[in-house]
Symmetry: C2
Subunit: 412 residues, 2 copies
């Protein structure tokens, strides 16, 4: 080998190993039941020897572990299956919303291993102070995770607003945030801001986008194009097309809360008029049901609303019907435009879905051109209000599974 070709050969060798690691780990992650090394060789086309070497690396890096062998009929020692490790790398999901902070740790297999939700009205709190509280919660989560032999391999932060590529929150109207440089404000917390494997340890993203990704990976198997609506104080949406999030030209898609449903109606915090949020946002619903002055945290108030509606309280039922009708007008616009066949009611809406669903379906049937012969499924989200933080943590572990070599380089 000439000196000139050696480096190129070495690079190719290195990237071949990276590809094989990702290929084998991806198969283990996607398998219905724990595959053996022989299964993996058959599925990937790699030799048994290569699969064995790759699996050794994945086990040493604590990304994979051997499952207990299932009892097997017939002779011979059963082959041991491989599963994603329940220790080692994990993802940290963070969420700042209008009335709560949430922190969540998800292991490689997608299991939630830690969750904290801290209720507080964050509108009067300065962004730096809100982030400091979140860092404190994250520190506790990190310590909890360490006790379970989990190492946080990165974090994603969900915010209810528009985030640019540098992680700056350009606008979060319901929080009152404008041009908040989240990475700069977290500069004193290197665990969240260092770069790992070329990727910042912390990714900031829109709450509705991360919630839609959470639902995509947690929801029942089925169509992989859907609209996921996060109904909180604000209302955001994640548009999933063919299993991928559609982010729009600048990454700011999904602002369904500002679709005008009563164009000359109530003023909105965004400066517009008649936005969906003013009729179907959490505060609007609670106010209409007479629960606004009760000074309850929003989730308690929402639970109370669901109780009242379940008991047939006319004000609660009317408030939910009106909110569902407004939501249905916006959803009909989306379905007319995008021809999606599945709408998922997420965030705070998940709990209210039994009452929101009928008026949403009524508006779809009345207003969508294709509704008569092409039904739209409207269902409650599997994750509900936990989707954004879970989706955030899940996005970290999916990054590791897609490119395990970065993690292995860190761990040695």
């Amino acid at each position: 080998m000439s000196p000139l070709t050696a480096p190129a050969g070495a690079v190719r060798q290195g990237s071949l190993r990276e590809l094989n690691l990702a290929l084998v780990l991806g198969r283990i992650a996607a398998a219905d039941r724990p595959p053996s090394r022989a299964d993996l060789a058959a599925a990937t086309g790699l030799t048994r020897a290569t699969v064995s070497a790759v699996v050794e690396d994945l086990i040493a890096g604590r990304l994979v572990t051997e499952a207990e062998p299932a009892p097997r009929a017939g002779a011979g020692r059963p082959a041991r299956g491989l599963v994603l490790a329940g220790h080692g790398a994990a993802g940290l999901g963070l969420e700042i919303n209008v009335d709560y902070l949430a922190v969540c740790v998800v292991d490689l297999a997608g299991r939630v291993r830690h969750r904290t939700v801290h209720r507080a009205d964050l509108r009067p709190v300065a962004p730096a102070d809100a982030l400091a509280r979140l860092v404190e919660l994250a520190g506790r989560a990190r310590a909890d995770a360490a006790r379970e032999d989990l190492v946080l391999a990165g974090a994603a932060l969900a915010v209810p607003g528009l985030v640019d590529a540098a992680g700056v929150v350009r606008l979060a109207p319901n929080l009152g945030w404008r041009e908040v440089p989240v990475p700069a404000l977290l500069a004193g917390h290197p665990a969240l801001t260092e770069r790992i494997d070329g990727v910042p340890a912390l990714v900031v993203d829109n709450e509705a986008n991360l919630a839609a990704l959470g639902e995509l990976h947690a929801g029942p198997p089925g169509p992989t194009s859907f609209l996921h609506i996060s109904g909180e104080v604000g209302i955001g949406a994640g548009i999933v097309l063919d299993g991928a999030l559609f982010r729009g030209t600048r990454g700011w898609s999904g602002e369904i809360g500002h679709i005008p449903v009563r164009p000359e109606g109530r003023e909105c915090r965004c400066g517009g008029r008649g936005c969906l949020e003013q009729y179907a946002g959490q505060e609007a619903i609670l106010a209409a049901a007479g629960l606004a002055g009760a000074d309850l945290p929003a989730d308690t108030a929402t639970a109370r609303l669901a109780e009242l509606a379940g008991a047939g309280d006319p004000a609660a039922l009317r408030a939910l019907h009106d909110a569902g009708s407004a939501l249905g007008v916006a959803v009909a616009s989306v379905v007319n435009l995008l021809d999606l066949d599945t709408v998922v009611l997420g965030g705070g809406y998940a709990r209210l879905a039994p009452w929101l669903r009928p008026p949403v379906l009524a508006e779809i049937s009345r207003r969508v051109l294709t509704a008569a012969w092409s039904p739209v499924t409207v269902r409650a989200a599997a994750l509900g209000a936990e989707a954004a933080a879970t989706g955030a943590a899940g996005s970290v572990v999916r990054r590791i599974v897609a490119r395990p070599s970065g993690w292995l380089a860190r761990t040695g």
Copy 2:
């Protein structure tokens, strides 16, 4: 070579030739100036000999021709450049709309070589009769094309409604069509219904989709994600994302005309209420301007409206302002949802764009969350009312350029 491998080898040989034909033709189609055979060899990585053989096939099949050599400084005979042929294969574009039929022939280079527009109110006409009229116009276009040494290689038909994969028009509310089996009704016209190269000679598609494709290929270079709105009696939209049409789960995306802009407003032909069409469709605008009873064909009435607006007529200006505001409410919904940065006013709107644009921009600025720091361009379409038939014909020739072997098999 064993008898067993011969057929597989032959198939590979055949598909290699197909790939090379498409590769070379695609380079010629995309080139800024006519490339020589040497340019093509350099660009494709094929040998000079292979390029020469492929080019001979393309010239013999009348897909490519040699351009006049450009004068060149310096010594030596200039290499002759290659261009798409202006004779040979051409595409036929057909359109049925509410108040006109249109037929258009486009050659391989994308030049319009024939266009007929036949004005008539088609609402009282049975679908079979409307199609028969269109077939007659198509026959004349075919004869015209033959006189210019053009052979129609396929056709695409634009209809203002929802079309399924079999070419059945499920619903075209403004035409009053429901479940119209276009291919069956054209069975007596084999030139439109035979299968060529496995593809039906006639493809039926939504008018707004084909118009958006026409604009994509005819418009100025620039962003390739945009919303193209076809403003006719009905209003449809084509959503172009990264240079490709977004069709939705079932192919029925883009029904912007049925986005509710006054949710409890006027009844719509679709069965809904307050749909955009009722406020910004051609008939609604003309009625508001006092031009509805004039019994003029819609395009003449639209021209008259533009004249009146240009002269400062208050009723015309008010009608256009109100229509533009309604259109702006729907466009704001779309931009909030999809984060597109370009909106193209097409169809009948192209001529009215000077008056529609300001209220559309005003609604965007008022209602789109990101409008303050992320401007949206609203512009008139390059093609206007001709876009759908032109886009239909263009879709046929692009199919040939993408897979020339099918055409060559027919001719050679």
